[in-house]
């Protein structure tokens, strides 16, 4: 009898052996895999999932290695799924992607797993989506997926990654042509790798021209030049990934005004030492509303073994503070009340959404609902602010 609940607790607590076995269970569709994934789902939603694809030989693995290094310098925990092809004849596979990532083998905050594509033809293993759930629940800030070298139509990656990176390289002239037919359409970020080689700029120019032929879209994929080998440009790639991540979390069909309010709120959240200390992440916001997210850490736990009420209050209060400061004038909380109908555990991913209920010249009231990833309400909060200052410098009017 497999104790799925105990395994979930160990996995969320950071046990690598359980993480490895959970990935195997998902990969091989063991009988308890579905139950396990269901139990892990409430703990997911925090990881940014980045897929890397492109023709064989453009340096995907080496680029992934450099990107992991860049993310580690930014303090992120990184999970990697490296997919290699299986032989259509024997079913066997040699999984060699991690050869190029070996500098991270002994890093406790990097977990690399090789998957054979087995019979799946879309450039991924069939179990990839499940593996992402497992790594996300295990607390990875970033999940990186390297596909098998893809030519034109292996576009499965766009279905599972939040951000898709399509990698090319100079000297792949015909492959650049091929890109436009298939995988160019799925690119959120385009990379010209091996930028230390001649003609890299020319390859980048070709890609920019092809992108220019497309209909104008809300997100225009940038073309970033990198060298996975020297590390050149990898910080710009990380920035481009961050910008795309920000663009999807604030993806609201509102007018430009909302986007500028969201920009203000993101800036306020990023400049708030307390919010950053607790690991609270801004998701979205606009005039009179805001939502934020937090994964419950071991340091958020009280002596009762569940999430400390103060931590929940802080999360709700962060959403409250942002929503009440969304009008461009400085507002300060003067009263708040919270109810905790449900206990919260380590590893739970919580979202707090604040909505304005009343607003006068002097006062405004807000209701905040804190939910777990499975939709359960874990806290409700009401708060009042007083307008204490004039217009905030730099705020949209």
């Amino acid at each position: 009898m497999t104790d799925v609940a105990a395994a979930v607790d160990r996995l969320i607590g950071g046990d690598k052996a359980t993480l490895a076995r959970a990935l195997t269970a998902v990969e091989n569709a063991y009988p308890h895999a579905a139950e396990l994934l269901e139990a892990l789902r409430p703990h997911t939603g925090c990881a940014r999932v980045v897929g890397v694809t492109g023709p064989p030989g453009v340096g995907k693995s080496t680029l992934c290695n450099a990107l992991i290094r860049e993310w580690r310098t930014r303090g992120h925990r990184v999970g990697v799924i490296a997919v290699d092809p299986s032989s259509p004849l024997s079913g066997g596979a040699v999984l060699g992607d991690r050869v190029r990532m070996h500098e991270h083998d002994q890093d406790d905050f990097v977990f690399i797993r090789s998957l054979a594509a087995r019979t799946n033809g879309g450039g991924l293993a069939a179990s990839t989506a499940g593996a992402i759930v497992v790594l996300d629940a295990a607390g990875m800030d970033c999940v990186l997926i390297e596909t098998v070298g893809s030519g034109q139509s292996q576009v499965d990656i766009a279905g599972v990654a939040k951000t898709t990176v399509v990698v090319s390289a100079p000297g792949f002239g015909d492959e650049v042509q091929a890109l436009k037919a298939g995988i160019l359409e799925i690119a959120d970020v385009l990379v010209v790798n091996k930028a230390d080689l001649p003609h890299a700029e020319q390859t980048a120019r070709q890609l920019r021209i092809m992108l220019g032929l497309r209909d104008a879209q809300r997100w225009q994929p940038p073309v970033v030049m990198t060298s996975g080998h020297t590390g050149q440009g990898v910080d710009q790639l990380a920035e481009a990934l961050q910008e795309h991540h920000d663009s999807i979390v604030t993806d609201t069909p509102a007018a430009t005004q909302t986007h500028t309010v969201a920009d203000l709120l993101r800036k306020l959240a990023s400049e708030d030492p307390y919010v950053r200390h607790l690991g609270i992440e801004f998701i979205t916001g606009g005039s009179g509303h805001a939502s934020v997210r937090m994964r419950v850490q071991p340091s958020h736990i009280s002596f009762n073994g569940t999430c400390h009420g103060g931590a929940l209050f802080s999360l709700a209060d962060a959403a409250f503070g942002l929503a009440s400061n969304s009008h461009g004038v400085v507002a300060a909380g003067i009263d708040a009340h919270i109810t905790y109908p449900r206990a919260v555990k380590v590893g739970d991913v919580l979202t707090a959404g604040a909505v304005e209920e009343t607003r006068s010249r002097r006062f405004a009231t807000y209701r905040v609902i804190v939910t777990r990833s499975d939709g359960a309400t874990v806290a409700t909060f009401t708060g009042t602010v007083a307008t204490v200052g004039g217009a905030r410098p730099g705020a949209p009017q």
Binding site: K16, A20, R21, A22, N28, G92, A93, V94, V99
Partner: protein
């Protein structure tokens, strides 16, 4: 097909520890196992023992194959201890390459399942690794 009894391919780490860089043998064996339907993690030479333990755990392999041509088999007992300390006692370890006859028993005493000498056939290697993988699968914790 040489999948395990449950239809799932055996997963094998093929690696080299120590300072010897002669990796032709390990590449040939990796190809044998692949062609027999197994999934092989291949690392190249000069791996450190803690890295091999980390890979064995992260990749959740059934068998670790150590290629040794220049006395690196003498540090295999250290690897066996490190695997046990990491809770990976169910993983089977095989050594292939140049191992003097009077040192084979030392490897077995330290938990090595099988030693392949020069001249071992493809069939012999594949069959032994397959059988050891099935044993490891039976002993490994489910989750």
């Amino acid at each position: 097909m040489h999948a395990n009894g449950d239809g799932i391919p055996a997963k094998v780490l093929v690696t080299k520890i120590g300072l010897d860089g002669h990796d032709r043998g390990s590449r040939v064996v990796a190809a044998y196992l692949r062609d027999a339907g197994m999934e092989v993690i291949y690392t190249g030479p000069w791996q450190q023992i803690p890295a091999v333990v980390a890979l064995t755990q992260e990749e959740d392999v059934d068998v670790v194959g150590i290629s040794s041509l220049a006395t690196d088999h003498l540090i295999v007992p250290k690897l066996m201890r490190a695997l046990r300390d990491a809770g990976l006692a169910h993983v089977r370890v095989v050594v292939g390459g140049i191992v003097p006859d009077d040192e084979v028993s030392m490897l077995h005493e330290n938990g090595v399942s099988k030693v392949f000498h020069p001249g071992s056939s493809r069939e012999e290697i594949v069959a032994a690794v397959q059988q050891l993988a099935e044993q490891a699968r039976c002993e490994r914790p489910e989750i």
